[in-house]
């Protein structure tokens, strides 16, 4: 199981990288979203799968699954949500200011 998940993570990372390398701003943002999915899965998998019960003391007497990766991922999900929201608004502003959603047409300003 673990190996298959890691291979899935690899595929997701490759897809995310390809999307991030494209010119359109929406594709880039989608790429970052996919990348965070991949990383969350990877952290959970590396922490060990199916080794115990749900980490709730009221539900079982153990052994429990490693709870630390779960806590880390929970933080990561929230932060990646914040970043995605910010980047989406940035894209909105970028399109409004520059009239394009194509990164190759943006090149800094001349008076820098």
């Amino acid at each position: 199981m673990e190996s298959l998940i890691v291979i899935l993570v690899g595929i997701l990372v490759a897809v995310a990288t390809y999307l991030i390398l494209s010119r359109t701003v929406i594709r880039v943002i989608l790429g970052t979203a996919v990348l965070s999915h991949a990383v969350h899965l990877l952290i959970l998998t590396v922490g060990g799968l199916k080794k115990g019960d749900v980490p709730l003391l009221s539900q079982s007497d153990g052994p429990y699954t490693d709870a630390l990766p779960q806590a880390l991922i929970l933080t990561a999900i929230v932060i990646s949500f914040a970043v995605t929201a910010f980047v989406l608004v940035l894209a909105y502003r970028m399109y409004g200011t520059n009239g394009t959603d194509d990164f190759s047409k943006l090149g800094g300003s001349s008076d820098e």
């Binding site: 190996s3 991949a38 199916k50 709870a67 806590a71 929201a85």
Partner: protein, 799 residues
Amino acid sequence: MIVELAILLPFIMAAVIPFIYRRFKKVHIGWLVLAVPVVLFSILTTYIPRIVNGQTFTKTYEWIPSFNISFTTYLDGLSMIFSLLITGVGSLVILYSIFYLSTKESLHHFYCYLLLFMGAMLGVVFSDHLMVLYAFWELTSVSSFLLIAFWHHRKASRAGARKAMTITVTGGVAMLAGFLTLYTIAGTFSIRELIADVGIIQEHALFIPAMILVLLGAFTKSAQFPFHIWLPDAMEAPTPVSAYLHSATMVKAGIYLVARMSPVFGGHEVWFWAVAGVGIITLFWGSFNAVRQFDLKALLAYSTVSQLGLIMSLFGLGSAAHALGYSQESLLYTQATFAALFHLINHSTFKGALFMMVGIVDHEVGTRDIRRLGGLMALMPFTFSIAVIGSMSMAGLPPFNGFLSKEMFFTATVDILTLNIFSIESFGLLFPVIAWFASVFTFVYSAIIVGRTFFGKLQPERLEKPPHEAPIGMLIPPFILVAVVVGIFFFPNVLGRNILGPAMKSIYPSFPTKELIVDISPWHFNTALLMTIGVIIVGVLLYRSLPKWRAVYQLFSQKYTLNAYYERIIGFSESKSGWFTRLYMNGNLTYYFIYIYVIFVGIVAGYFVLSDAFVWSPAKDSAIEYYEFILLFIMVFAAVALLFTKGRITAVLLNGVLGYSVAFFFVIFRAPDLALTQLVVESVTTALFLLCFKFLPDLTKENISRAVKFSKATISILVGATVTLIGLTVLHYEKFMPISTYFEDSYNLAGGKNIVNTILGDFRAFDTMLEVVVLFIAGLGIYTLIKLKAKKGETDIEN
């Protein structure tokens, strides 16, 4: 106690000024600032009697004990001279600035920077620890930069500020390297301990490199040849700043360093020739170039360079006594150092007065160009008398203090000929000869200041404003200074015994103080007086015939001046670094991602392959169920489809599929909290995407060539493969025990039965709080991006 207060008080005031500035609408805020140096000066003078008795004051605060860095203050005779100059001239300059700068200027900036400088400069002279001294040293460069660029809408101000900063900071870094070298030699940063260990230091192989590096710092700061080129350009600063930083105090930091370090380095032939040689060259070159200037401030700048060279060369000559050790003969050479300290004070008095005088002329007439000035004597009689006294003192004429120290300088250059070490017999004669010629030029430019400004014909049509005498407030500070100029001439030994003597003790710790004090006599007859008479005769002749020999200056091609070299070096490095930066920072985001990925693959995968770290043990994997297979298949399908989809709605839905599948996996992998969060977040994210689509164009097919597509695909596959290989390798890594067992006791430790929640809410609550901060910042950013519109920039910047 009082010494730390002296360093702290200006900084505190500098921090307070911007806040209380608004309350000072009617009254000039300078009056408040003036209190700082006046108070410090008065307190410091009460210490003079105890310093004369040989007492010193020291106090240590541990700062970074693990790095052997402590904040040690030290008040002795040498730091006393400098601190009196800093606070004394500082008081007069601030009083002057109250009348020089109108309340329309951004005074809170001005006084904030000025106080920063004052604190930093006091820090330099009171620090016993070399690292602390270095920090204050660089802070004086920074505040000088800010003050030169005070009128930052002018291009020349900005250029001058940058030049001063570049040169002094470069020297400062060299000095830092020198200090670190000293530390490796002696194992201490304390100046007093270094002086105690002087025997070990002088034997060490790194002694000469350390000396050269420290000297580089001193020479750049004190505008010694060939680093002097920053000082004339620094004259773009407001005149009070020029009078304070660039003639009386900051440029003397280098001299302070040389004086302070001479017990360590002095006595070596390299030190003698470097300090005395560079000093005497600077003396000549500065005075020679001052004569050609048309701008009065530029003339004073070159004259300052020249006078700093004079003081520097005297310290060099005086270091011969360190080589000989204490004896009746070597006392002769200590007199050079005595003259140096004496001239240090004299120069601050007469040059300060002259700068203020030029400031008055500029302020009342609107120009400093001597080709447009002339005939102001009758219109500005008080200013005229300040100019006469200041210039005559500078030219070395009686009855003013400059005469005394100039005579002692001549005597020192003649006395050094009796020295029989350091190959004096072959080159020693150069000292009196160069000194004499330099003094002739000094006489000529001093005459130009008075003659071309106040005598001759008045040209009212070429002046900006009708000339009239300055307000009394601007006249008082220079009048106090010229009163000191005259006073020192008649009572030089008061100064000698109380101020110069204790400082001599700091420079020659092993000599008895009584014998170091020279009895200065205003009335004397010796070789030096004959030299001065010669200077006056030749100087008058040269001044009279100046139009005839001015053509000498045309002989120097503009292409080969030091300034031209500086400009070329700066221009070259600017254009080359600009070219190199533009090469990779091309403004296209895709390229930046490519750099990141290529470096990631190169370093991570490269090291991975080289170290042959790959391990894969599928046997340890857990079993797999059929529904997990289905979920895996869905995710791979959605991911691949995401690459080929054309519609943006489809793309977002596919991303949603991925997110919900991840949530399912969380359920399977015993992570209910994650699954819940993921479901919520995924839903909101999808909604956000759809909301933004209202404002964004539809996806278009990207027009890119096959080759580009292929290379992007290659990078993506390489990145994916790297992650996979490393992921597989670390899967069953069991070198360390998991730390989670600790958290499993969550009910007893934190009173919660959900372990994940207790980690977030109790064990790692700070992390969670910072996570909330991130959310808050993101929210702020989003709000700002949506609400705020860019303002139209004001463009009063000259380029």
